[in-house]
């Protein structure tokens, strides 16, 4: 009988200061060569479980562990983390927070060196690992020069160099753009059956190609399901009710079936979705919309996107004329001209270094643009002081902590109004309203830094809005957040947008763009490559030309043989379709 790769018996974990145990009573047996995907709603303890698999819980993270965790027969309570690393390697979410040395090669050698492996073998392992992830040619570079995807591949190479048979990956693609995520899964897909993988992931479309078993935790941290990948299809309704994210291909298949298409078996992967589409009757737009028979960029049959105003003569909220910005000696933006429609939800996309953040900061006056190049509702951010700027355009930084300057939540909100020199009673009243609106009433006296991640984000949006700014600019608002938190924020932004706020957001999440944005602005090399209504831009090849990769859902529909499917970029688009012969 072989020793199980991982053996969990009645595992309950409670973080120091927490009330509940999450996970709560997990029994799990993982055999060598298996690839297990752990799913569960936010707060079910997936990441905590991952930390317990190599002994970080309870040895280094202050938490109470009940039950036993064994890695290839060794108890994680009795074996130090450093020694366990010979048996189980970890890849964490943040690629920046797992780099120790100054070159790619040194980084891969770090683990084996710690295990007293002789120099020749260290180098042999390093070469093998770097070749497996395609970084051998870049071994002398500083890891900082790699892309996010490159750094995560480096982290996988480090795990390979340790020769640990088990690799645990905790949301390895949450901080990556679609291209980086593809790179990571291409590498994982080639590892083969000699490794045992435990994967925690929200972006299921790519992940399902590399796993063969799914384990689901429920909201209270108990084991809800354990079985083959097909479980996702068979228990789709239950899983959705649990708050578990399902692959977008599966959701698309289920929607198509609801719309009357003959779907014998809902697809799990984008490739399977494309195969399914090719077997279906051609889609036609529902009669009610009165649109043409096929989904085309010109006649998008979906319900009007939030923010896209029906009236054609749209007002302009933000405009730039000949906007050029340099950082040091490099010119980042080249004489940009653009007009952002008032009331729109405009997403700014582009590859790293395209100038997205620089553009947003110039438009919002965070880094003042050259005078006379930018106009925000009649205000030139280059000449405005903090007070007038705050009344016109609110800015939400990528990390909300950066912009907190007071010691309680209520003061933080009040600060914006004090800057406007409002009378005290008016300030108190507005702060109160904002606390209620953003669900922070109970936290009014808490230090902003002690809020949860989602609360911090809501507070930062609240402070940006409080001065009454009709335009809200956000820099990567969902970066590094889990899916549930990202959706919470986007629902909030969509709600504000429906209320009339113009939203301008830099993002790399193209599914977010498809689902929420009314307009897309594609930047390439500091110039505007495309700018227009979302459906038009997504249906063109502007994204690919600018070096971006569309979301897995968009790509799956584009890959279908019948061009009638090509305009579908989000699940909601399917609600307007029905089989043409029905």
């Amino acid at each position: 009988m072989t020793v199980p790769a991982l053996e969990l018996r009645g595992v309950r974990i409670r973080h120091e200061g927490a009330q509940r145990f999450t996970p709560d009573g997990v029994d799990l047996l993982v055999h060598p060569g298996e690839s297990v995907l752990v799913l569960g709603p936010s707060g079910s303890g997936k990441s905590t479980l991952a930390l317990a698999l190599n002994g970080l819980v309870p040895q280094e993270v202050p938490a109470e562990l009940q039950g036993t965790v064994r890695v290839r027969g060794r108890s994680t309570a009795g074996t130090p983390v450093a020694r366990l690393s010979e048996h189980v390697a970890m890849v964490f979410q943040d690629p920046d927070a797992q780099i120790v040395t100054a070159t790619v090669l040194d980084e891969v050698c770090f683990g084996p060196e710690n295990l007293l492996v002789p120099v020749d073998e260290v180098l042999e392992r390093a070469e093998y690992a770097l070749r497996r992830v395609g970084l051998w040619e870049r071994r002398h570079e500083n890891p900082d020069q790699l892309s996010g995807g490159g750094r995560q591949r480096l982290a996988i190479a480090c795990a390979l160099a340790l020769r640990s048979p088990v690799i645990v990956l905790d949301e390895p693609t949450a901080n990556l753009d679609p291209r980086g995520a593809d790179e990571v899964y291409a590498v994982l897909g080639e590892l083969g059956a000699d490794r045992t993988l435990v994967l925690i992931e929200h972006a299921l479309d790519a992940a399902l190609d590399v796993v063969d078993r799914v384990v689901v935790l429920d909201r209270s941290g108990r084991l809800a399901h354990d079985g083959p990948v097909e479980l996702l299809r068979e228990r789709a309704d239950e899983l959705l009710a649990l708050g578990v994210w399902l692959p977008s291909a599966l959701l698309a298949g289920l929607r198509l079936r609801d719309r009357g298409f003959p779907v014998p078996e809902a697809p799990l992967t984008p490739a399977a979705l494309t195969t399914l589409l090719d077997s279906l009757p051609a889609p036609a737009a529902a009669k009610a919309t009165g649109a043409s028979a096929t989904v085309t960029p010109d006649a998008h049959p979906a319900a009007p996107r939030p923010g896209s105003s029906p009236a054609p003569p749209a007002r302009v909220a933000v405009s730039a004329r000949g906007l050029s910005v340099s950082r040091g000696r490099t010119r980042v933006l080249h004489a940009l001209d653009l007009d952002v429609t008032a009331g729109s939800f405009t997403a700014v996309v582009g590859v790293n270094g395209a100038g997205k953040t620089t553009l947003l900061q110039a438009l919002a006056g965070v880094a003042p643009p050259p005078r006379g190049t930018v106009d925000v509702l009649g205000l030139d951010p280059a000449r405005a002081d903090a007070r007038r700027l705050a009344r016109t355009i609110g800015f939400v930084f990528q990390n909300p902590e950066h912009q907190f300057i007071r010691s309680t939540v209520a003061d933080e909100l009040a600060h914006t109004l004090e800057l406007q020199r409002l009378p005290r009673p008016a300030i108190d009243e507005q702060v109160e309203r904002m606390l209620v609106r953003f669900g922070l009433v109970e936290q009014r006296a808490v230090h902003p830094f002690l809020l949860s991640g989602g609360q911090k984000r809501r507070l930062s949006v609240g402070t940006a809005l409080l001065a009454g700014a009709p335009v809200l600019a956000l820099d990567e608002p969902t970066f590094g957040q889990d899916r549930a938190r990202a959706r919470e924020l986007l629902d909030l932004l969509s709600e504000l947008n429906r209320g009339g706020t113009t939203v301008l957001a830099v993002t790399h999440d193209l599914q977010l763009v498809a689902d929420h944005a009314s307009h897309v602005l594609v930047l390439e090399g500091g110039r505007v490559a495309a700018h227009g209504p979302t459906a038009e831009v997504l249906a063109s090849d502007a994204l690919e030309t600018a070096g971006l990769t569309a979301s897995p859902l968009t790509r799956a529909f584009r890959a279908a043989a019948d061009p009638a499917w090509h305009g579908v970029t989000r699940l909601a688009d399917l609600d307007a379709l029905h089989p043409s012969d029905a």
């Binding site: 190599n54 390697a89 927070a97 120790v100 090669l105 060196e113 903090a386 950066h402």
Partner: protein, 277 residues
């Protein structure tokens, strides 16, 4: 792995040729100038710091590969700063003893005596000498090499040495983070206004977010390091050896000899070296 002839695929960039300081052990470059630094701390004349400053300047110019900025700093900024400091210290210094010495300049109420100028010059030169002596190692040593030699020669536990190494990576990250925080606080109208008081309040406000971010980052890096067997054994394999060679011993002994010589010259009879207190 193949053993085909050719360049070693693992080799890092070769050290710059002809610049001997880079080829020395980092500890040698600390041990060599150390007695000189101590001597300068206790020296009250201008002769010793002048000799040692000149000596170490020549050593750095000949022995280290210098960027244009470093050259500019050494040859232009440093002499200028020394001159400015000399004058400032001269005006601050106690006029009592110096007023007995010849008067050099008189501009209205400002009177500069020779004694004050010499005392100011000595202080400025001492600072310059200490800086230059520490630059002997500073301009030709990388942080990782220093950490490695601390572990390899001084037997500093490797957990300490390599944690310092990892912390090296934090510096540029925090610099960038500080920039972002500064922007964010400016936009939010944190302590606007000119002058030292608002500036101080602004700086204090940057600390909390910077520290919170730093602690979280450090914690994550620590977990990642331990997950990669950091500290599994009392020692670890060293790929980069930073050996102590004979030339390191020679360098240290020569540096000490030169220091002794400089001290002897500096306290030599007044008719050999123009020495005044």
């Amino acid at each position: 792995m193949t053993t085909a002839p050719g360049p070693d695929p693992f080799a890092a960039a070769p050290p710059p040729r002809g610049r001997f300081l880079h080829a020395l052990n980092p500890l040698a470059k600390i041990a060599g100038p150390l007695p000189a630094i101590v001597a300068v701390l206790f020296a009250h004349t201008w002769a010793l710091p002048a000799l040692l400053a000149t000596g170490s300047l020549i050593l750095v110019l000949v022995g280290a590969r210098l960027s244009g900025r470093a050259l500019l700093g050494l040859l232009v900024v440093l002499p200028l700063a020394t001159a400015v400091l000399t004058l400032s210290f001269a005006f601050w210094s106690d006029g009592g003893r110096a007023s007995a010495t010849p008067l050099l300049v008189e501009l209205g109420p400002v009177r500069l005596h020779e004694g004050a100028l010499l005392a100011g010059g000595a202080t400025a030169l001492r600072l310059a000498a200490i800086l230059l002596l520490s630059l002997v190692g500073g301009l030709s040593t990388t942080g990782p090499d220093l950490a490695r030699s601390l572990v390899q020669q001084l037997r500093v536990p490797y957990r300490v040495g390599y944690t310092a190494l990892a912390a090296y990576r934090f510096v540029p990250r925090f610099g960038h983070e500080l920039d972002v925080i500064r922007q964010a606080h400016r936009v939010r109208g944190m302590a606007p206004g000119r002058g030292p008081l608002p500036a101080l309040r602004r700086r204090a406000g940057y600390l909390v977010p910077l520290l919170a971010g730093a602690l979280r980052h450090a914690e994550r890096v620590a977990l990642a390091m331990d997950s990669r067997a950091f500290g599994a054994h009392p020692t670890r394999t060293e790929r980069h050896l930073v050996p102590w060679r004979r030339r390191d011993t020679v360098f240290v002994l020569l540096a000490w000899l030169a220091t002794a010589l400089a001290i002897a010259l500096a306290i030599a009879p007044a008719d050999l070296i123009a020495q005044k207190v």
